[in-house]
Amino acid sequence: MSGLSLHGVTKSFGAVDVIKGVDLVVEKGEFCVFVGPSGCGKSTLLRMIAGLEDITTGEIVIGGRDVTWADPSERGIAMVFQSYALYPHMTVRENIGFGLSLAKMPKDQITVKVAAAAELLQLTPLLDRKPKALSGGQRQRVAIGRTIVRDPEVFLLDEPLSNLDASLRAQMRMELTELHARIGATMVYVTHDQVEAMTMADKIVVLNAGRIEQVGRPMDLYREPATPFVAGFIGSPRMNLYANIKGVDTYGIRPEHLTLSLDAGEWGGKVRIVERLGADAFAHIDVNDLGTMVARIDGEADIQAGQQVWATPIPERVHLFQNGVRI
């Protein structure tokens, strides 16, 4: 049984089509990540699933039930917002239990459920604090706690890590993945950060301008991007893409699939800059007639800016696209 499915979902604001027909099935227990550049409609799509935005046409099915026109609270969803949206005047306990008290659940049951959620998220010592007395990571966990007590069919998370600093973000990424493994819930996660998408997802949905570009497992998207857009979006640093060479519309090769040589190779060029990250380094090369090419090299490699180098692609790692489709 599917956790969530969308059939021909569209959304227009006046004459502007924001979502242009989305069909998608998210299996029960799957961690699905919507990823795409700013303004591609990924947050709008999430808000449509949540019921915060009306849909123009199409239908949304959650847990086998058509909820296209249901109220947000009756869809079996729970949502974590980018800004967490904790109620500032309530304690952590009240924040987590708010939905349950609105549903007129008996007090003792609420206490039990809140305590269980707090235990799971290590919030027990903080239950009587107000949100402003919490750190960013703790607020994040309260926001998640608020969704867990609702026992939803689908968890919706809207860029939940974007307000955290880099090290905390890496930690929360792990915690979220572990949490997902433990409670086995269906999760839909929106991000513009392809690292989050690659590391956390069971299934990545790449969105571009209101359309799904490709759906698949992270490594499948990495190995066989279906369109030049996905090719450029997944992977860091991004794939080198060139138009109209070697008889195809778009030719792509990832920086990590180039080998550099000082003597000979496919493309010759001058190194403009070398970014050294430690283990790896990225050489930005000005290749005649092609433009900039980025190659990943060993962090200790003896290549300096201004040097003449030759780059050669690993043949089986080349991506060719004709008419916007992989060949």
Partner: protein, 282 residues
């Protein structure tokens, strides 16, 4: 050398401070001292209207005379004014918060019209005679509840603007989180939004209650009749064409100035907080 410059700069700063304080003292405190002096003089001394130290002190005497005047009308006036102020401010806060909430959250094509009406309420002076005509038609003229409605109508625009600006600073995601948690629209407002409006509610209560309590002109227009007297109208008790009792008049002023003054002294800080809270994001 440098220390001398710093010292002279500090001296100049102190001098400027002292000068400013003196100016403020002269402008704001002198009239109050004048009221105090006048209020404790006897009738002859007071009628000279001099700014002088009282020759004899009649505080208690004057106070009793003011309260007993015209069969304890001051007490009735305090009673009426309190009812009017409390009722009007309560309605103002509830209505203005609701209108401000809807105006700042729900974007429809009526927003522009509603905002224009709100601004019109602020800019266009109310016409007295047509208002009386309408009140008479509704049977509300010369009644306290009619006057409460007048005060609510006059104060609503200002309160709405305060609330709207403040609510715009409360993230919309809070509403949405509450909706997903299963809150109905009224629950979103009363359980999530209203508790966060405390600073601006305090500002509204203070500003509006002082305005309404101090309102003289509207009470004069809309509340004729002895039983409808409000505190500001009691000022007429001791002034007439042929005789004036300035000592009692000033004692009366003193009496009716105290409540708003106390409100201001205690809530001073919150007023500014609420006024400026919405100032950054409009």
């Amino acid at each position: 050398m440098n220390r001398d410059i710093a010292k002279s700069r500090q001296r100049r700063r102190i001098a400027a401070g002292v000068l400013t304080m003196t100016a403020f003292l002269a402008v704001f405190v002198t009239p109050f001292i004048f009221i105090l002096f006048q209020a404790v003089k006897d009738r002859r001394a007071a009628n000279r209207l001099e700014f002088s130290w009282p020759e004899s002190w009649h505080f208690w005497e004057n106070l009793v005379a003011v309260i007993e005047a015209r069969n304890y009308i001051v007490l009735l006036a305090f009673f009426n004014s309190t009812i009017i102020t409390v009722a009007s401010v309560t309605l103002l806060v509830i209505f203005a918060a609701m209108v401000g909430y809807v105006l700042s959250r729900r974007r429809t094509r009526f927003n522009g019209i509603v905002m224009a009406l709100v601004l019109a309420g602020l800019m266009i002076p109310p016409a007295v005679v047509p208002t009386i005509w309408v009140l008479q038609g509704l049977g509300l003229f010369k009644t306290i509840h009619g006057f409460v409605l007048i005060q609510v109508a006059y104060g609503l625009s200002f309160s709405i603007l305060l609330f709207r600006a403040f609510i715009a600073t409360i993230p919309r995601e809070l509403d949405e989180a509450a909706i997903i948690d299963g809150a109905k629209p009224l629950q979103v407002f009363f359980k999530v939004v209203l508790p966060l409006l405390k600073p601006v509610v305090v500002t509204n209560i203070v500003v509006q209650s002082v305005t309404i309590f101090n309102d003289f002109v509207n009470a004069l227009y809309y509340m004729p009749g002895r039983e409808n007297v409000t505190v500001q109208l009691t000022l007429f008790n001791f002034q007439s064409q042929f005789s004036s009792q300035y000592n009692l008049l000033f004692m009366n002023i003193l009496l009716i100035t105290i409540p708003p003054l106390l409100v201001f002294i205690f809530f001073n800080r919150q007023i500014v907080a609420g006024m400026t809270a919405g100032a950054i994001k409009g």
